[in-house]
Symmetry: C2
């Protein structure tokens, strides 16, 4: 591959990793803000979210540069287009984590999560960070099988999300309707964050194998 | 512009318009399903959402083709990249409208929207369709000023969304916590749908003027 192009692409890849790590830091602070009613962590999440905007703009600029200046061939094109999509996913993940931090800040010093659901929300937070970590690993060395692992964790997130929704909409819910709404929205923010991890993983499977994750998984089953 | 490239681009533009109209049809059916507890409209929304998937895949394929085969120059590149982003926005808008249809179907034959909030939800639905129509016009003849109009309508959507949220989280809410959660989520789906209209409009302003909507609006103020 041409040296100049390679250098541009590496700078872009490095920005993607910064985005990925910033997103995880926003979510980690948002979760602490939520579960430990910490205003400091909420503020830290919001300030990190601001810095995400700059990296995103730099990435958008870089992708245009790569496409315009370097005349990429098909495989390089696929890589740049994949990155454009991943930047958008990271951007939304940052926004969703920010919503969680904002909910914690808005209700402070009151708890958003009642004692009964604390462990469930903590589990969801742990699982979505596991997914984000898998994605982060993918950015260093793309691997289609590891990407499929993201889907497996997502199923667990979906199950816990359904449990949260059914708890807050049940007839025997003893907290306020405000608490129910807050939790339903927070649950949705985590679930959407996980969905974006799945998107990123799918893009990476496609980049590595030229197949959708479903086709790739089917083919593996046939091989076994 | 080269004839072959122009033909490819026109086919792509035509697919984008089909996506835009399909998304509006999904949302229109979803709103009727919601406000008139119509199962037929809910089913129609879900079936239209399936067809959206195919158009999206065709669009993704077309954008790769345009970039790979035709060696586009800078302004053409900007157009293709803009379209890639718009396809993603339409895709999400379709998914959000589908969530509304699904909520109506899940609760059928019960009403999701209590009498007190019917007019508000109907107003939100009318406004977001107005935004989607403005976007649709943009696809035929891009115009930066018309795109800014989308932002104005979005402010009204945000105000109504805040009203819905404050109503369902208020102490004097008389319906169930399930109704509160359903409405909070449905409100959020409409609001996110509107946000995607704003995204599309911003992309079009940038394509036409080379500026962000904020910079373009500032510059217009200075000229006046």
């Amino acid at each position: 591959m041409r040296t100049a192009y390679r250098e541009h692409l590496e700078a872009y890849a490095s920005d993607l990793r910064v985005m990925s790590e910033t997103v995880r830091a926003i979510m980690s602070n948002a979760t602490t803000a939520l579960l430990e009613t910490s205003l400091d962590n909420a503020e830290e999440a919001l300030s990190l979210a601001d810095s995400l905007k700059e990296i995103r703009e730099r990435c958008e600029h870089r992708s245009m540069e790569l496409l315009a200046l370097q005349n990429p061939v098909a495989s390089e094109l696929r890589q740049v287009i994949t990155s454009i999509h991943i930047v958008e996913d990271f951007n939304r993940m940052g926004a969703l984590a920010k919503h969680i931090a904002n909910t914690a800040r808005l209700r402070h010093p009151r708890e958003v999560v009642p004692a009964d659901l604390r462990d469930t929300v903590a589990d969801v937070a742990k699982l979505v960070d596991e997914m984000a970590e898998l994605i982060d690993d993918q950015l260093i060395s793309p691997d289609a099988d590891l990407a499929l692992e993201v889907n497996r964790v997502d199923d667990q997130v979906d199950a816990l999300h359904r449990f949260i929704l059914s708890t807050v909409t049940a007839n025997d819910w003893e907290e306020s309707n405000r608490a129910a709404v807050d939790l339903a929205l927070v649950g949705r923010f985590y679930e959407r964050y996980a969905d974006h991890c799945v998107n990123v993983a799918s893009r990476i499977v496609f980049l590595v194998t030229g197949q959708s994750p479903e086709d790739y998984a089917d083919q593996k089953t046939i091989q076994i």
